[in-house]
């Protein structure tokens, strides 16, 4: 009996069922701290992790692969939602699992493994492998430039990218107001551009392919 009561108590401590898909979508797209709460909720949502793990384990992966796929899926899920790629043709949970499946199948194919299974297409599919490869190629260049602009600029630009209001950025970062924060964001972007332009391969990246 204690076990049953304990089960109830433990269930009550897990994230509750009060996030509807609409609320999750609005929170992620709205950015700010609501986004973090929504993503945390998904990360800890019972059943979601298990679905991804089960798929990876049943399709040639181990637990470590499954863990990586689960985390990568959240990164892609977050980006897709913020960029408006989710068209609402499924529930968010189904969408998340579809992203994870596509990601795992893509990885297996990159590793030269034959994958018979073809995941059903999901709306707002991840970018093409070419675009993803391009992103990965840019990553090193961007990481290097980001390394030069200082932690404060990085944090400011992160908040900006997450659509925090300038007032909120000013409050968090200690600027006198929205105008100062905006000026500082522009200054940081200029600084970033200067470092990018100093990179020998920058002009190659700008050449239309």
């Amino acid at each position: 009996m204690v076990t049953f009561f304990t089960s109830f108590a433990l269930m009550a401590n897990s994230p509750g069922p009060d996030w509807t898909d609409e609320a999750l979508l609005a929170a992620v797209q709205g950015g700010g701290q609501e986004r973090e709460a929504a993503l945390r909720h998904l990360y800890l949502l019972p059943g979601l992790r298990e679905a991804v793990f089960r798929f990876v384990l049943e399709n040639g992966g181990n637990r470590s692969d499954a863990q990586d796929v689960f985390q990568e899926a959240l990164v892609l899920f977050d980006r897709n939602l913020r960029e408006g790629r989710f068209e609402g043709k499924s529930t968010l949970k189904t969408y998340f699992v579809a992203i994870a499946k596509w990601h795992w199948v893509g990885l297996r194919r990159q590793q030269g493994r034959y994958v018979e299974w073809e995941p059903a297409q999901y709306d707002g599919a991840a970018e093409s492998p070419e675009v993803e490869t391009l992103r990965a190629e840019h990553r090193e260049l961007l990481a290097e430039a980001m390394g030069h602009i200082g932690e404060r600029c990085r944090e400011l630009l992160r908040l900006y990218q997450l659509d925090y209001a300038m007032e909120e950025i000013a409050r968090k970062m200690g600027y006198s107001g929205a105008d100062s924060a905006k000026k500082e964001a522009y200054r940081c972007r200029t600084k970033l551009r200067e470092h990018l332009e100093n990179h020998p391969s920058w002009s190659d990246y700008l050449t239309e392919k």
């Binding site: 049953f4 298990e50 990218q161």
Partner: protein
């Protein structure tokens, strides 16, 4: 606002899909006729990818922290979905059985009423004479006040099973990574390390990688050096900061802890402060340890980071 800024804002709006369709189409036409404008748009698109990289980096760090919540959870977050429903079903059967048993009992007339059979796990809730069914509340609404009549001590009523109260998402709290970013200054740590090129021929190369933001490459160069020479303090310090900057806070902590115990006072003090900032990324789980580290720093007014630690303590209160 200068012309450059206006153009910057327009490109930004275009790339973020915030221009009305007609304006976006006009802008695209303008781009196809103006190679320089097209180039600027490509450059700005690339910058936005860089900003997205920052968002991803931060999310990965947060996932590491959430993963620790999963690992540290006593059981509920790890228990499988099927097992949870099985447990819920079994508990429901038990509750029904107890309810049947209660119905068969002779009625008592002199006491306040039956006790709840299954109570909410919220221990802060005071027991009521007549337990009331708790309905899950929609998110972000103030809890509804119970009507007065339910507190009346009237004739006993059948018990109503209270269901586990849904847990609302974590309230918007301090943005710890942002706080850590505010306090982490490269020059506090790296100027001192720059003088250590003599420790290993690879140190200089690693420092270059570090300064260019290629933390994984720096780590790759430094890790074997530490294995060969576990006493290479500054190499270890650079490795710890490479891990920190790469968002690998858990991996950075053991090195910082070792360095904080160093006999070299400046290394020890820097590392204590770096440890505090690393622990900030592990809040709220690591609050007790963070408090201890901050207390240690602020117990010594001559500490190189006394002022910062004291200020941070106030902010965390």
């Amino acid at each position: 606002m200068s012309r450059d800024e206006r153009l910057f804002d327009k490109i930004e709006a275009y790339l973020r899909g915030k221009l009305p369709a007609e304006e976006a189409a006009a802008f695209e036409a303008e781009m196809s006729a103006d190679a320089e404008l097209a180039r600027q748009v490509r450059a700005q698109r690339m910058e936005l990818q860089g900003l997205e990289w920052l968002v991803e980096r931060d999310l990965r760090a947060k996932m590491d922290a959430w993963e620790r919540e999963v690992e540290q959870a006593p059981a509920p977050l790890r228990v499988s979905f099927v097992r949870r429903w099985w447990a819920a079903g079994a508990a429901a059967v038990l509750v029904l059985a107890l309810f049947g048993w209660w119905l068969l009992q002779p009625r008592q007339t002199d006491i306040g009423g039956p006790q709840p059979i299954v109570s909410t796990p919220d221990s802060a809730t005071s027991p009521q004479d007549t337990p009331v069914k708790k309905v899950p509340q929609p998110p972000r609404k103030a809890p509804q006040k119970q009507p007065d009549h339910i507190a009346e001590k009237s004739s006993p009523k059948p018990p109503v099973v209270t269901t586990p109260r849904p847990v609302t998402p974590a309230p918007a709290a301090t943005d710890y990574p942002a706080l850590a970013a505010t306090y982490y200054r490269d020059q506090d740590f790296m100027d001192a390390s720059a003088a250590a090129t003599g420790e290993s021929p690879l140190y200089g190369q690693a420092l270059d990688r570090f300064k260019s933001g290629n933390y994984a490459a720096a780590e790759k160069l430094l890790a074997p050096v530490i294995k060969l020479n576990p006493n290479a303090l500054k190499t270890k310090e650079l490795l710890a900061h490479s891990l920190y900057k790469g968002g690998r806070y858990d991996a950075a902590l053991p090195y910082l802890r070792e360095l904080a115990a160093s006999k070299d006072k400046s290394v020890a003090e820097r590392s204590e402060w770096a440890m505090a900032l690393t622990l900030l990324h592990r809040m709220p789980g690591q609050k007790p340890l963070l408090d201890r580290v901050l207390d240690k720093i602020t117990s010594r007014p001559g500490h190189a980071f006394y002022r910062q630690a004291d200020e941070l303590k106030q902010k965390l209160k």
